[in-house]
Symmetry: C2
Subunit: 193 residues, 2 copies
């Protein structure tokens, strides 16, 4: 998505350790008009999948997920992060390890909001090692919900998230694909078409 | 806002301890079309205030804040919650006590995203004791940003949040005002107009 790539070139900062900082339009300060355009694009990409629910994880997945749900006119459910859970009867939970923060969190979704009739689109802001998305996939499998696809704002294709998703036979669409972060520069993957 | 009150009557659950559970359309599962309508209403209420930035706190403030920012075409900044902060040079921080969870968190906003030229609209999903909003007001004061108003989705008027905001001379607009939660029923405040 050219609009997004241009914005990453203009406002993204490359930090040591393969970190791309985009906190001035995506995950701390948010540009709602850009989010709207991304929601339109995700909805277009998955328009034939009869999506019934958009799933994401708090917090920075919420904005792109809401704007996608707005286009598809379906509910959006955001999984909650917890240190650990005591009361789990009415929740689907999964453990997610963050390579950035080097800590495990449990994520959870109320059983009332996901079931075997759902056709789910998973949306998240970043895909790197894929742990958050795999947690959501795990929760969908527990609920026997059908996963129609995963939509990612920014994918780092040099990390293994996309392999894990492909191993599950799940369609992945990323609006910006980053092949490398070199010498403070963002290198986008060449488009095939 | 009648659309919201009707939804609270239909889907809200009153739990012991003056708790109103609205997690099936507001703060776990989210209805994006309802959020869109609420964003339009906040934008209408504050349309003359030349808002430059919408502020909220993660996580459940993000959806209504983004939809308001979308209408006003201004950036949305969501404050991050932390247990405690070590590196604070580049952040405005404030301590927020949660009466529900009986725990203090620090909230923070990067200094790059708020300054004395900003005219701020604070948006949040709930107003009860007002601690989260007071934390955002504190951060705006540190940044010398002008606070043009506070927009709340659901206000419990029988708790003291609105008094604290009024003491600061700040305009408060709530889309649904709840006067009491009695015997499992939601009692709305009578409208003056």
């Amino acid at each position: 998505m050219k609009l997004l790539e241009d914005r990453i070139k203009k406002d993204g900062q490359v930090l040591p350790g393969d970190v791309l900082k985009v906190d001035n339009f995506l995950n701390h300060q948010v540009d709602p008009d850009l989010m709207f355009a991304m929601g339109e694009e995700f909805a277009r990409l998955f328009q034939d999948e009869k999506i019934t629910k958009v799933l994401t994880v708090e917090s920075s997945g919420i904005a792109p997920a809401i704007l996608t749900g707005l286009q598809l006119h379906v509910p959006v459910v955001f999984a909650r992060k917890h240190k650990s859970l005591t009361l789990v009867n009415d929740l689907y939970t999964s453990t997610v390890y963050s390579y950035t923060k080097k800590v495990s969190n449990e994520i959870s979704i109320s059983k009332r909001f996901l079931d075997a009739d759902d056709r789910v689109l998973i949306i998240d802001d970043f895909l790197a090692n894929g742990q958050a998305v795999m947690g959501l996939i795990d929760i969908c499998e527990q609920a026997q919900a059908k996963i129609e696809g995963v939509g990612i704002v920014i994918e780092k294709t040099f990390q293994r998230g996309h392999e894990l998703i492909a191993e599950h036979g799940i369609r992945l669409e990323s609006l910006a694909k980053i092949a490398a972060l070199e010498d403070g520069k963002v290198v986008f993957e060449k488009q095939n078409n």
